[in-house]
């Protein structure tokens, strides 16, 4: 009996004292012709076997990341009086979309060490192995990437926008912009105390083109020749229709 209890105890201890139970308002986003952005509500609860531990308050971080892609960042310089692209740095991995929402200012929610370990804030998510030696100030290229994407609403920092109730229920909302690339979006939820991650949970939201959008996109990739022919057929018939309508109009 004692052995059984010990075994059970052994089973339980590796688990965190506090655990995330998650819900999503939607686990897929369909991009249709009239797609104009979408809100994703991420909510959940913290399950605990024991009373609320001592120490700092419970904080929650929610991140939503689009598919990773390689981005080429170019810098303009004045050449012969004209502003032209000169230096370029390839950023190996940058999410096409990234939102990070917290329940308190990021400084108070997460320690720098834990950020480095889990890769939570935007600069930690972006990976740039190295710029060519010829480029000076390579770091400014990554900063520019973040700046441009933030201005386009693709990188969002939502400080103190996650609501927590009674250290148990939490709720956050992330708005996906209209200009969205498709792929698997990963929602990652962390609960922290005193800047240390207590538990984390990961789930996927599928973002995909649907209906006509899907059909046209796939056709343009899989049957580019016929896609081109179709475009031309539409153009020619529209041109013919216009001419015919014009003749009727003139009579």
């Amino acid at each position: 009996m004692l052995r059984l209890i010990t075994a059970l105890f052994m089973l339980v201890t590796p688990l965190a004292a506090e655990e995330i139970v998650l819900g999503l308002s939607r686990d897929e986003v369909a991009i249709t012709a009239t797609f104009n952005g979408s809100d994703v509500m991420i909510f959940g609860a913290v399950r605990r076997e024991a009373p609320v531990p001592e120490g700092g308050p419970l904080e929650v971080i929610i991140t939503l990341s689009g598919p990773m892609e390689t981005v080429l960042v170019r810098r303009k310089e004045r050449v012969l009086g004209i502003w032209a692209n000169t230096d370029a740095v390839e950023v190996d991995e940058a999410p096409s979309f990234y939102a990070v929402a917290t329940s308190a200012p990021m400084r108070e929610t997460l320690s720098a060490v834990e950020d480095l370990r889990y890769g939570i804030t935007i600069p930690r998510v972006i990976r740039s192995v190295g710029a060519p030696d010829t480029v000076i100030n390579a770091k400014t290229f990554t900063e520019a990437l973040i700046r441009i994407r933030a201005a386009a609403g693709l990188y969002q920092i939502l400080d103190s926008e996650v609501d927590i109730e009674k250290e148990t229920l939490f709720r956050g909302q992330i708005t996906l912009p209209a200009a969205l690339t498709e792929g698997d979006y990963i929602a990652h939820i962390y609960i922290t105390r005193d800047g240390q991650v207590v538990d984390d949970y990961e789930t996927t939201i599928a973002v995909y083109k649907a209906g006509l959008e899907r059909w046209l996109f796939e056709m343009s990739r899989n049957n580019p020749f016929w896609y081109g022919i179709m475009s031309l057929a539409i153009a020619i018939s529209a041109g013919w229709l216009a001419s015919a309508a014009f003749r009727i109009f003139q009579r």
Binding site: K76, G81, I82, R147, A178, A179, S243, F246
Partner: protein, 305 residues
């Protein structure tokens, strides 16, 4: 109403696109140009990626030129033989243009090249047209003076002569081939039909009669831009059919309104207005190149090398 464009991967207002198509259609109906030189910069401006704007604009030009050439065929104002010669040059030019376009895209200089082409050609054409129409207006105020007849130049000294009956010309095929080639390259790079270069070139360089110029230019533009569309569709996958359809509908309706307005105006007045419009677009693009941009960095797709 927002519409998500499947290839451009941006969401735009459908009425804005219909309106843009309509306005450019009105202008093209008034002045007899394809309107690509106006539409492509406008598409850049509303946030369509340049590569998609250039490729998609070619589809719209096919539609408007086809519509136009049908009207000209009925009036028998198309020189099919001259059109075919220009076309041969044009197809080779378009292929060269797309290769050049892709090469420059890999270097990250494609935006610059497209903009430079616009500034240079719009500047030259706009400037020449402005001077020419200004003189025409002044001449019309002084009755009695007759425009000076142009002399036969270099065009008539070259070998490989051919008879172009509709145009009433007996000239070498080399100049039309070269003109076709140059316009083909520009069409592929700039996303325009090249009518605004082709028309003056046919009148002033080849000495073709004005009444067959527009129809013949439209005839060869259909094939060159159709070819450009196919090349962009199969190599770059950048033709956005949803965008093309929205522009087409607006353009076709606008062209009818434009033709009606155009009929009520004097030819010199129309030309000087077109020249001013061309110069304004040119000036705007030139300023973008010369003034320091507010964002020095730009993003592109990586992993290509």
């Amino acid at each position: 109403m927002q519409i998500y464009l499947p290839i451009a991967e941006v969401s735009v207002n459908a009425f804005l696109l219909l309106g843009l198509g309509g306005i450019v259609g009105i202008l093209s109906g008034m002045f007899g140009v394809g309107g690509g030189f106006l539409m492509t910069p406008l598409l850049f401006f509303i946030g369509i990626p340049p590569a998609v704007a250039v490729a998609t604009e070619a589809v719209q030009i096919v539609a408007s030129s086809f519509s136009g050439v049908l009207a000209h065929l009925r009036r028998k104002s198309v020189d099919l033989r001259m059109g075919t010669v220009l076309l041969i040059g044009g197809l080779v030019g378009a292929a060269v243009g797309v290769i050049l376009f892709n090469y420059l895209k890999s270097l990250g200089q494609v935006d610059l090249l497209v903009k430079l082409c616009y500034v240079v050609f719009l500047g030259i054409i706009g400037g020449l047209m402005f001077i020419e129409s200004w003189r025409a207006i002044r001449r019309s105020k002084k009755p009695g003076s007759v425009p000076v007849r142009r002399k036969h130049g270099l065009v008539h000294a070259l070998p490989l002569k051919m008879k172009f009956r509709v145009s009433g010309l007996y000239i070498s095929v080399i100049p039309p081939l070269v003109i076709g080639l140059c316009v083909g390259i520009l069409a592929a790079i700039m996303g325009v039909g090249g009518g605004f270069i082709m028309v003056p070139a046919m009148i002033y360089l080849l000495g073709m009669p004005t009444k067959v110029v527009i129809g013949t230019s439209l005839f060869q533009i259909i094939f060159v831009t159709a070819f450009t569309t196919m090349l962009h569709a199969t190599t770059n996958f950048t033709v956005d059919i949803v965008l093309a359809v929205l522009l087409l509908v607006g353009g076709v309706i606008g062209a009818q309104i434009g033709t009606r307005i155009g009929v009520k105006m004097k030819a010199e007045q129309l030309r000087i207005l077109l020249a001013l419009m061309v110069l304004v677009v040119c000036g705007k693009l030139a300023l973008d190149l010369l003034l320091m941009p507010s964002e020095l960095y730009s993003l592109g797709v990586g992993g290509g090398h």
